[in-house]
Symmetry: D2
Subunit: 348 residues, 4 copies
């Protein structure tokens, strides 16, 4: 009953096997091997667009460096109040960019309210050198609340970005989970919506360590190569990432794994919906289930060895009753029906 | 005939197998798993000292963050003119620390001349706020020239560090190769010499990606945890590094691999010494062979598909004749006797 | 009728005369002249405490460098939502410190609510490396809303700083105006309240350019000297600041000027209180008058050539009616009774 | 006998008087006053070019921010080994830019050897992301050795900058002294030579504090305004600089002051040339005299209360004999013939 997070799982067997298979390769380093080039080519097929890719060590590095690539003096980046770049990266975007500050945008369900966003961007644009200037908009897809921006919602945000001529970035740490929820193509969820740079996460969905910064405008890559190197992110044996991604992207494995994780989340939501002592916050849209649980049931689950996150900070719009906690359960490629049923037996 | 660099090889089979074995683990992330703790324990045994460890993505990240952990405003770090932190990291130490500048120290054979070092440190110490202040000394062991500081040479440098009360760091990207050359213990080459922080490289010697910053003073670790996180270096699935290191450190594999690589370098040096068209710069002390090669022989080697580095920038004390190039050949755990013999046949 | 800001005025005649008088001095540079030392001595008398002083070019530089002097990796500084360091310094604290992020604290009348502050500091302290750590608390005295923290309010904030062992800083761009409002001594408003570092502004109150960072703990000064220099703030002809301060601090001129400015504000408030078309937001506590003015009266004032700030962003707790604007009027050492009466005639 | 430095003098009477005269002005702040605009206009007349100006607090700030305005990730700026930005600014260029590293170029007489420069720029350009990329060339005019680049020498350096498409900057802390030595126009010494950004110093030549960053390409100014503000350099009462410059630039005062200082240096050189115990390093080209002095004569001068700099670090090409010191004497607008004669009597 393992729902701590999707980064508690190891790697999918196909990924591990392929990495082992390539262990005896002898290839040029620093992203220059034929396997590295093959992955760039494969991703451009998948995204139906020419692109440049850079591997980085973590999602934090991906977001921070993507933002750094567009940052200007006095620049302000806009993101939802709960966004990973604001709440969970220890200031990495500010550190790496040495330029950006982050402006928190409110909005229900973990999504920026587009009206609020437009107003705040306009406020900053009016402030001149004292206040700074609008520099970027970043969406997390899916959000930290386990919701997914619809294509229309992305369009509305993109319109603000275009109006103020600022880059539009996507933190896709759980990219695949959002994609299969929307049932659209990678292109439709990204550059067709106006996304300029995508942080494409594969670690949570079945790899060991495979985060990629994707530029849809290849002309940005020349400059970014220096940022990437001096940020300590130019892996010498870059093939170790490529080998993971080769397996991950082959025959749609990454889509299958995300479907599985989302399905498991849906099943777990069913369990919580039908149980008396739990109150589902919302229908899961990715592989995260947010549920309000009574204190004594939390205790039962913990004592049974279920790994999950109790005492999750509730969003502003959620009101907890006395003796209730918000809990987060995360499924992954490795979650089993048995895991789900195990929780079901405990909460019934 | 693969002598391009030790980062052109993949990973040793034992490392790859162990990583696969742990792929199905379910463990807490961010360096908190039992396997992560086991590696910290294992390294403290090997180094005969309590220590704190942090995994990072690259040697560049290791060096830059180690330096960052000690950096002060106006600080100047001293390193050999050819040191990786100066010549090959695109300014990462300056970028991450936002404090340090690097002062180039000359010296033969890739080693800082300790007299020059002492003089330059004294100069900076005398300059006050306009010039900055001494902040760190960093040695590369083995050096970029393939030489190894003796224990006495390290002691002499450590004395300067102590005199000016500044930290003493070691870039050990090829740590094992230096260790087996000296035939001493890890403790003798590090904290017993006054080293405060070690960048312990395992990637070049048989891992996919396993660089570790080691603090011999555990009290520094609390603060460094924030630097490490906000530098985008806190791996979520940290076990993927630990699993590599478990195999790497088991039963002295890491020592065996370095011995093999050094032996291959020694054999290759024999080849060059006995050949007419090549002039060995010096007896190899690690797994790198520097040799002066006539242009036409370089051409022969390249046409035969030998991977190596021609046109290596010569140190100040080396004089090249007309039609000669300095070349670097690097052996690794994966180098075979056949590789060496192949080169031998070409240069004879 | 000049109420644009207190930085629209030039310098008080006594300050200008003294600067001219010292123009023919020949003295050692970089803060080392006898006049520089005399000012340090004079300030230590005024503050009844040993201290170290550093001149900087602007209030922004003062705040940013004071914060930089205490900043740690992952550090978060807490300040009121409207604080100058958040709203008006284009990210200077983040830029100079390369460490800090700023956390906005709400509270009425421009003052941090101490309950909210305590809660937010506790939240950050609980987040570990992902969220960062509490690093500093900064108060603006007087606040951006023209209010003044009472000594008891400062004590309550200091208690939070002490509890979490983080530095307590004061942005005193209008220090004198707050001081004369409270009628206490400089010591009572600063180090006796637990203030560690004070940004002591004199520019707005009668100097040309005289901002000073004051450390009550002299041991911090040695390190700060490097930060100060490399921030481009070590004036060569530092006597040009000392000469201004010599006149400013002599015979209580600075207190007299602040009293005058505050009195003028009080008189202006009387004007607005008795007028029909204006609604005083609160009794002024320093030299700033915030008043709600009907649009047509704003127009009358502007057409008469009164300099003031219309359309000031209202605090959350202030509700503006239809056709109303929040306006700010700032008095200074140079404001005359005639200026005040002139406005009176226009708004009656 | 005051030869410590030109920043030991106060301000010229005309500058001080004009500042006093403007003390009672009431004007808009932050560089927006009519006086501020008048200075921008006056400078554009003097330089015969449209330009944008930004006042900063120190020469260090000027250089660091000028470099920051052009800096790119991995960028390397080239300057002479003795340049102020390398030896005397405590790392300010690296700090503010968070991008640049400085590469030391050798050359006699304090001037970069253009052959060496070209070679080093080419080396860096060939190194790719590991080594960084050429980003700027900075000349100090006059140099730290008191020499002046001829127009032809500036052209030769500009050719390298153009070839590698990198900005060409001039540190003109003593701009006027070089100008009157060459006897050319400001335009001829700057943009006609390819200079993109000039740090125009007036502090040393008669002002209290008046350093200006001048962009000959006005399109750069919009972006730089944010850098300038967040660097704490946007003076509120900017007129205090403009008032100094108004007097400084009026009726060629600045040229007269520089001529006087240079003449005094020439006279002092005559004194040293004819004395037995001193050896003139070279004919002065600006207001600095470098002279080799016997230890006992140094003692005589010091005991007589002459302020000058003994023990100046000699350039590589200068060989000092036993019991000799290199000394620097700096003249200024305030130096008198009596000062010079006083030294003459002591060294005869």
């Amino acid at each position: 009953m393992r729902f701590g997070s999707d980064n508690w799982a190891g790697a999918h067997p196909a990924v591990a096997v392929n990495l082992s298979k390539h262990a005896s390769d002898y290839s040029t380093p620093y992203g220059s091997s034929s396997l590295d080039h093959a992955i760039q080519h494969r991703l451009s097929e998948i995204f139906e667009h020419s692109l440049s890719i850079f591997y980085v060590s973590t999602g934090t590095a991906a977001n921070a460096l993507a933002l750094t690539s567009v940052a200007k003096p006095g620049g302000i980046a806009f993101a939802h109040r709960e966004a990973h770049i604001i709440a969970d990266e220890c200031g990495a975007p500010e550190y790496f960019s040495n330029q950006l500050r982050l402006k928190l945008i409110d909005g229900a369900d973990g999504k920026m309210d587009v009206g609020t966003l437009r107003e705040e961007v306009a406020n900053v644009a009016a402030m001149g050198v004292h206040g700074g200037r609008p520099n970027a908009i970043s969406v997390t897809q899916p959000t930290e609340s386990g919701t997914v921006y619809s294509l229309e919602e992305l369009d509305a945000i993109a319109a603000v970005a275009r109006e103020y001529d600022i880059p539009f970035l996507m933190d896709g740490a759980r990219f695949a989970n959002a994609l299969v929820h929307l049932g659209c193509s990678p292109a439709e969820m990204t550059w067709k919506r106006g996304i300029d740079i995508l942080c494409f996460g594969a670690t949570k969905n079945g790899c060991f360590c495979a985060e990629t910064v994707i530029f849809f405008d290849k002309s940005k890559a020349e400059d970014f190569a220096f940022t990437h190197k001096r940020a300590g992110q130019l892996f010498s044996k870059s093939s170790f990432v490529s080998a993971q991604l080769e397996a991950y992207l082959k025959d749609g494995l990454w889509i299958d794994l995300a479907c599985h994780a989302n399905d498991m989340a849906s099943d777990l939501a069913d369990v919580f919906r039908s149980a008396g002592a739990t109150r589902l916050v919302r229908e899961p849209q990715n592989n995260e289930v947010f549920v309000v649980v009574k204190d004594d049931v939390v205790k039962v689950l913990e004592e049974a060895g279920v790994s999950f996150f109790a005492g999750w900070p509730p969003a502003r719009e959620l009101v907890l009753g006395e003796g209730e906690q918000l809990c987060r359960f995360v499924t992954s490629f490795a979650t089993t029906g048995e895991d789900v049923r195990g929780v079901g037996e405990l909460v019934e």
